[in-house]
């Protein structure tokens, strides 16, 4: 009953947080308690509906091939008809569950973390708006609806990253996020438009049929181009190289924002888009290859940079980029199941990592450099325990959640391409290493006497606890319950463990831990020596491979140059035509007025000559000169 209601009223899931946003913005901006409770109630209700929808999917046997769809026309004209609607299938249900749950937990956490902030109510309003947009994106039935909510999610990200808008760094970070994702949106929009004019529809279900048919007839070349254009959107949104640059700066936002948006929800929108339209991508091997290689490159690239970063949230940001690379690579090797599985488990442990980082930052009054931390396990035992759980999960140690999802990805990669598998394993090694580095430097060792930490309150610890539990069991339970039979594309996947790959990956992760312990375990001396020895490599990694600097140079030189050139042309070339026209007219006028000499006799002479000329002309024209007068 509840399941059935949730399914047919799935449009309530985004609507409830949207209403919370409207109510808070118009009426509750001065009532912090009411605003936060309203947001939490709305989100809680959405969560219950999401659970109901998921239950409905399971009980009614809704599959990816036969989803539940409800839609209505948004606007239409001959040749272009755009719908808005609800699509629920196992993939959507997974995301609905993850988004509503994590948002709810983050909202509860924020009642403690953001307490006392003058923008408290604004925060809850924006988070609600964000949740509404993200949920609208998840249930989208067609590319345009998804694009609409995609951009709205980007707007919320801009508003939330720039939440502390009085800080120049925050406002610049928000701008950067919006701009970078806009570049991605440009590619995505082009792809969508090409799809529209080729197939006259943007509906996922219809395209799932039409595109494979088209490719079977006409070959994959033109469609691959369109698919890659569409992929550019996720490249920006999900932080793939080279449009990843906004993610690390996005840490300017409050930590709950980082946990929610930049770990668990918004950034996976790109992965979700590809998953949602996987029917198109699966018949375009060229596109999949690009996705896979870019994914694995991103995973390695970001992990490389994370090795040397010192700010706790920045390490986590690059870790997110790296894990998103894993999710993309999973899609690229054709395994929708492992990608979605990793999306879910990553949401749990990454959100937990960020919330834990928030807890640490809260306690240390925003001291973010992990090299200034240490020994926090004594003063913040709960946080330490939960962060440790998350580290084990992300490193893929069995039986924690990350093990199952990452293992699936590695297995899928191994089946398709050995180089990708090896590179992915290398990235996994680096992941284990830098996460262990973070944990060791923050929680183990001797406490820094400058810090006076205290454990965080219950409002912050309880959500973290929930996530910690999910990081432990959030892998094994879906695995055992047959995640791969529901969330899949194509024939069902058996739930089995490839012990060779699993064993290898566990050993790799443990090696990563061991290396981290060796370098950082006993104080900073070994790490300092290593920093000096690795010299250039270290500098490259620490400076994020200078990608930001390259972009800024490009912006200043080309964009700025073209802008200044256009303005110059406007004033001096186009403008010169107009301005010289009026100056010329004026000059001509000045010259011509000299004809008015005031000399009466001159005027009379002119009149005489004109009359003579006119008479001659008239006579010539009418022929009377020739005829001869009758005089």
């Amino acid at each position: 009953m509840w399941a059935e209601f949730s399914l047919t009223h799935a449009w309530l899931i985004p609507l409830l947080p949207a209403s919370a946003f409207v109510l808070i913005s118009f009426f509750l901006l001065s009532s912090p308690w009411l605003a936060s409770r309203l947001a939490i109630v709305a989100m809680g209700s959405s969560f219950l509906l999401a659970l109901g929808a998921a239950a409905a999917v399971l009980t009614q046997g809704i599959t990816v091939e036969a989803p539940f769809v409800m839609k209505t026309v948004w606007f239409s004209m001959p040749g272009l008809s755009v719908d808005m609607g609800v699509l629920v299938d196992p993939i959507a249900a997974t995301l609905l569950f993850v988004v509503t749950l994590i948002t709810l937990l983050v909202l509860i956490y924020s009642t403690g973390y953001m307490a006392g902030d003058p923008g408290y109510c604004r925060f809850f309003a924006f988070i609600s708006l964000f949740a509404a947009s993200m949920l609208g994106l998840v249930i989208a039935t067609n590319f345009l609806q998804m694009f609409v909510f995609w951009e709205l999610v980007g707007l919320c990200s801009y508003l939330l990253i720039g939440f502390y808008f009085f800080k120049v760094s925050a406002r610049e970070a928000g701008k950067k996020a919006f701009m970078t994702t806009r570049i991605g949106d440009f590619g995505l929009l082009l792809g969508i438009l090409l799809l529209q004019i080729t197939f006259r529809t943007l509906d996922f279900a219809e395209l799932a049929v039409k595109v494979p048919a088209y490719v079977a007839e006409n070959g994959a070349a033109s469609l691959t181009f369109i698919a890659i254009l569409i992929f550019i959107g996720p490249v920006a949104k999900s932080g793939q190289f080279p449009l990843h640059v906004w993610l690390p700066d996005a840490m300017e936002g409050p930590t709950p924002v980082s946990a929610l948006i930049h770990a668990a929800t918004m950034v996976v929108a790109g992965v979700y888009l590809i998953a949602r339209s996987f029917a198109i991508f699966s018949v375009l091997p060229g596109a999949l290859t690009v996705i896979a290689w870019l994914g694995v490159f991103t995973a390695l690239f970001a992990a490389f940079i994370a090795l040397t970063q010192r700010e706790i949230k920045r390490i986590l940001a690059f870790s997110t980029i790296s894990q998103l690379g894993f999710m993309m690579l999973a899609l690229g090797v054709g395994s929708l199941t492992s990608s979605m599985f990793h999306l879910m488990t990553h949401a749990f442990f990454k959100a937990l990592l960020f919330l834990g980082a928030g807890s640490v930052l809260h306690a240390l009054h925003d001291q973010a450099d992990i090299f200034q931390m240490g020994g926090l396990r004594k003063s913040m035992p709960a946080t330490c325990l939960m962060m440790g759980t998350a580290v084990l999960a992300i490193a893929g140690i069995p039986p924690f959640a990350g093990f199952f999802s990452k293992d699936e990805i590695l297995v899928a990669a191994a089946h398709v391409s050995t180089p990708i598998y090896l590179l992915a394993s290398l990235a996994a090694f680096m992941t284990a290493f830098y996460m262990a580095r973070l944990f060791i430097l923050t929680f183990l060792g001797k406490p820094n006497p400058h810090n006076h930490p205290h454990e965080s309150g219950l409002s912050m610890l309880v959500p973290m606890g929930v996530l910690a539990v999910l990081s432990v069991v959030g892998g094994i339970i879906p695995f055992a319950m047959g995640f791969g039979e529901w969330v899949r594309f194509g024939p069902a996947h058996h739930a089995g463990i490839d012990w060779a790959v699993a064993g290898a990956s566990t050993v790799i992760s443990l090696l990563g831990f061991a290396l981290a312990w060796y370098i950082y375990g006993g104080g900073h001396t070994r790490s300092n020596d290593l920093t000096i020895k690795t010299g250039a490599l270290y500098t490259w990694s620490f400076n994020k491979c200078y990608v930001d600097e390259i972009y800024q140079w490009f912006n200043r030189t080309f964009v700025g140059g073209l802008a200044r050139l256009s303005f110059w042309i406007d004033i001096h070339a186009l403008g010169a035509v107009v301005d010289n026209a009026w100056r010329g007219t004026g000059a001509a006028g000045s010259e011509m007025r000299r004809l008015q000499t005031g000399q009466m006799q001159q005027y009379a002479a002119v009149m005489l000559s004109a009359t003579v000329v006119l008479v001659i002309l008239l006579a010539a024209l009418t022929g009377s000169l020739v005829k001869g007068g009758q005089i």
Partner: protein, 102 residues
């Protein structure tokens, strides 16, 4: 015999004299006198034509009477203007009366 063409020649000569005076005389009064000459030449022209060619002999003569009246009025106004200019600016030399210019 004395025919129409003789009268026309005389009137043309008078007109030419008047025109020459209009265009070249320096004194404003002389210009006015030249204008009078031109008007009178036109009168001769009209009367000659009415005598030699027109069906209704009175048409041209009536027209000349009109012209005489108008010429008189115009000279009156012109001389009044000339006097006003002389009183205001102290000159009736056409070369110097060029204030309505750029």
């Amino acid at each position: 015999m004395i025919g129409l063409s003789h009268y026309l020649l005389v009137s043309a000569a008078l007109f030419g004299l008047g025109l020459f005076g209009l265009l070249t005389k320096r004194n404003l009064i002389a210009v006015l006198m030249s204008i009078e000459l031109m008007l009178n030449s036109v009168n001769i022209n009209l009367v000659a034509f009415s005598r030699y060619t027109a069906a209704d002999a009175s048409a041209g003569q009536v027209f000349s009477l009109f012209i005489i009246a108008v010429a008189a009025a115009e000279v009156a106004v012109g001389l009044a203007l000339a006097y006003a200019i002389y009183r205001g600016r102290g000159t009736v030399s056409v070369d110097e009366i060029d204030w309505l210019k750029w």
